[in-house]
């Protein structure tokens, strides 16, 4: 099983190398090597170190965060359709981001506002689902889905009253776009810290996935564990959405893909999700910025185009 993680790690490195090597401007391997050694022309250094590297890291971090958050949500809600956004977190973030854009704020405030929106959505769903005391995953799911619909309505309202010149920026945010990511570090650091923190919990998550009764019988304190997962998944998703907008699909499909190949052991699935989610988004973003260059595609299009056939193939093979 560590072999699986090792090969995923190598795959991740390969995808990052590919992303650095490819772009609308051709940089030869020799030039690439020079830049890695700290030499090379100013242009090549700018292309690789200022444009491609931050963007690739941001893509990797975002993809990894979404996949891990998705895996956590699927365990928490015991529902295969759960993804990081199912409880309305991306909706809250979108309302925050769009509000800041509507008021003509700078990129930093847009990010901050998106994060605040995501946190507000989390607290709102937590409070509402918790309200009367009795609490079940299905109650959390229902609350989340309804609140998400509410955010959706607010987003539509905002799009309807926004001056038309601001619409493209807003739509691209909603589609998810790594090209607007400013700094990759929040995503990468949060991902690394989260994976380290979560590994000790993985064994308990395996038990929880079999049902709360069994988990309780086996001595897992279910309620605190569930809330920990919820808060953690929310933080991961909020960081991802703040970095690159609401990129869909990765959080839903990557954990399922990995379960089809590796089996449902969270000790493997969680770190594997981080690596595979990152790899998928890096590859998708590389295609998005090179396929019809100089035109640039939104990365979400490519994630789905790459992911759907791969997933269907795996599903077909597993029968």
């Amino acid at each position: 099983m560590t072999r699986a993680l090792l090969s995923l790690g190598l795959l991740a490195l390969a995808s990052v190398a590919l992303a650095l090597a490819l772009g609308s401007v051709t940089v030869s391997p020799a030039d690439l090597w020079q830049v890695i050694q700290g030499e090379g022309s100013t242009l090549h250094r700018t292309l690789l170190l200022d444009l491609r590297l931050p963007r690739t890291l941001a893509a990797f971090g975002t993809g990894g965060l979404l996949a891990v958050a998705g895996a956590l949500m699927q365990v928490l809600l015991r529902n295969p359709l759960a993804d990081p956004y199912v409880l309305g977190l991306s909706g809250g973030a979108a309302v925050g981001a769009l509000l800041a854009m509507l008021m003509g704020m700078g990129t930093l405030i847009i990010s901050g506002s998106a994060f605040a929106g995501a946190m507000l959505a989390t607290v709102l769903v937590f409070g509402l689902a918790h309200g009367t005391g009795s609490w079940t995953p299905s109650r959390l799911l229902l609350t989340g889905v309804v609140v998400a619909a509410g955010w959706g309505a607010v987003i539509t309202l905002m799009l309807a009253i926004t001056p038309s010149y601001k619409l493209p920026g807003m739509l691209y945010w909603l589609m998810g776009d790594v090209s607007y990511a400013r700094s990759p570090w929040p995503a990468v650091v949060v991902l690394a810290v989260a994976v380290v923190l979560i590994m000790p919990l993985a064994r308990n998550l395996n038990v929880l996935a079999r049902g709360p009764m069994q988990a309780a019988a086996l001595g897992v304190s279910v309620r605190p564990l569930e809330w920990t997962i919820y808060v953690l998944a929310s933080l991961l998703t909020a960081t991802a959405v703040t970095t690159a907008g609401s990129i869909g699909f990765v959080g839903l499909i990557v954990p399922h893909m990995l379960r089809l190949i590796l089996g449902n052991d969270q000790r493997i699935i969680l770190p594997a999700s981080a690596l595979a989610g990152g790899t998928l988004l890096v590859l998708a973003d590389t295609l998005a910025r090179t396929m019809i260059a100089p035109e640039q595609l939104p990365v979400g299009v490519i994630t789905a185009l790459l992911g759907v056939p791969t997933f269907l193939y795996l599903l077909h093979r597993s029968r």
């Binding site: 772009g23 609308s24 401007v25 242009l43 700018t46 292309l47 200022d50 444009l51 491609r52 700078g106 990129t107 309807a160 009253i161 001056p163 038309s164 010149y165 601001k166 493209p168 920026g169 691209y172 090209s179 607007y180 400013r182 910025r289 260059a293 100089p294 035109e295 640039q296």
Partner: protein, 300 residues
């Protein structure tokens, strides 16, 4: 007093510059204020310019610096020479690699049209950017002069700006006493959108004696319902189309035979690109709109 002080300061600065750099003429800074109020100073005339909006492309050519433009974004279709230039994406999504690879010494951006994150990235990478978006006729001539200053093509640029200024003045004079005619300008069909008097299109309409029935609305490009158009019952309805050729954009109104504009056959088309871009071609747009409105008045 102030001007004396400025003269003195200028003279002193010039003296210092001359003393410090014996070959100062070519090393004098060329400075201009962009439309966000940021001042940009270049140590040499811009030679490698990239424009991030179709309007900016047109204005660079108008400033006499068309030969300095190395790359443009989608829809840069005027003047024809712009069609030959390489593309670096669209105004909402710029291919930053392609841009950096060209090594520009000036990037002309669009205040509300380009993604702020990409413009900020250009600033961080040390690429000089100049944001433009003229909202008035005076703004058009001024931006031509400012771009000419940065490119060192003052002679052509200032002449073109003056030609535009004189053109506007003579058109204004010619149409100042025409009879006002209530009109509705349709920017987009679904959803129905128009412009207010602050919009450059609104200013063109006013110059021609058109009274924009939605001119007082708060937003620059308000979204409205068909009902308020019926209620306002304008004498003419205008919209922009490719080359001003009639198409199906105004067909919806023909359902309402009681509308004055329909009854009097005053559904009018003007070329979309000259009227929507803040460039010297506005003169052509004004000419066309004024003539169309003249004809419309006669049909009333």
């Amino acid at each position: 007093m102030v001007s004396h002080w400025l003269n003195f300061r200028f003279a002193l600065g010039f003296l210092v510059a001359t003393l410090a750099y014996p070959t100062s003429a070519s090393e004098m800074q060329r400075c201009a204020m962009d439309d966000t109020g940021k001042e940009l100073c270049l140590s040499a005339p811009a030679q490698r310019v990239i424009t991030l909006s179709p309007g900016a492309t047109e204005l660079m050519f108008a400033a006499g610096a068309g030969d300095r433009v190395m790359a443009v974004v989608n829809y840069s279709d005027y003047p024809p020479a712009a069609l030959e230039l390489p593309l670096i994406g669209s105004h909402t999504r710029v291919d930053m690699e392609a841009l950096m690879a060209l090594g520009p010494d000036l990037v002309v951006t669009w205040v509300t049209g380009n993604p702020p994150a990409q413009v900020e990235l250009l600033d961080e990478l040390g690429v000089p950017t100049f944001a433009i978006e003229p909202r008035t006729f005076a703004g058009v001539s001024s931006v031509i002069e400012r771009l000419a200053t940065l490119a060192g093509t003052e002679r052509e640029g200032f002449a073109e700006a003056e030609r535009f200024r004189i053109g506007i003045a003579s058109l204004t004079e010619r149409y100042v006493s025409v009879e006002p005619i209530p009109i509705f300008y349709q920017v987009w069909e679904k959803p129905l959108m128009t412009v207010n008097n602050e919009h450059l299109i609104g200013k063109v309409l006013q110059l021609c004696g058109g009274v924009n029935v939605f001119g007082d609305m708060q937003r620059l490009i308000p979204r409205i319902s068909a009902e308020v158009v019926l209620q306002a019952d304008p004498d003419a309805i205008l919209t922009g189309s490719v080359d001003g050729v009639s198409d199906d954009q105004l067909d919806e109104w023909k359902k309402y035979a009681g509308l004055t504009a329909v009854e009097k056959n005053n559904l009018l088309f003007v070329p979309a690109s000259p009227i929507s871009r803040p460039t010297p071609r506005l003169l052509d747009a004004i000419q066309t709109v004024c003539e169309k409105l003249e004809n419309a008045r006669e049909r009333l």
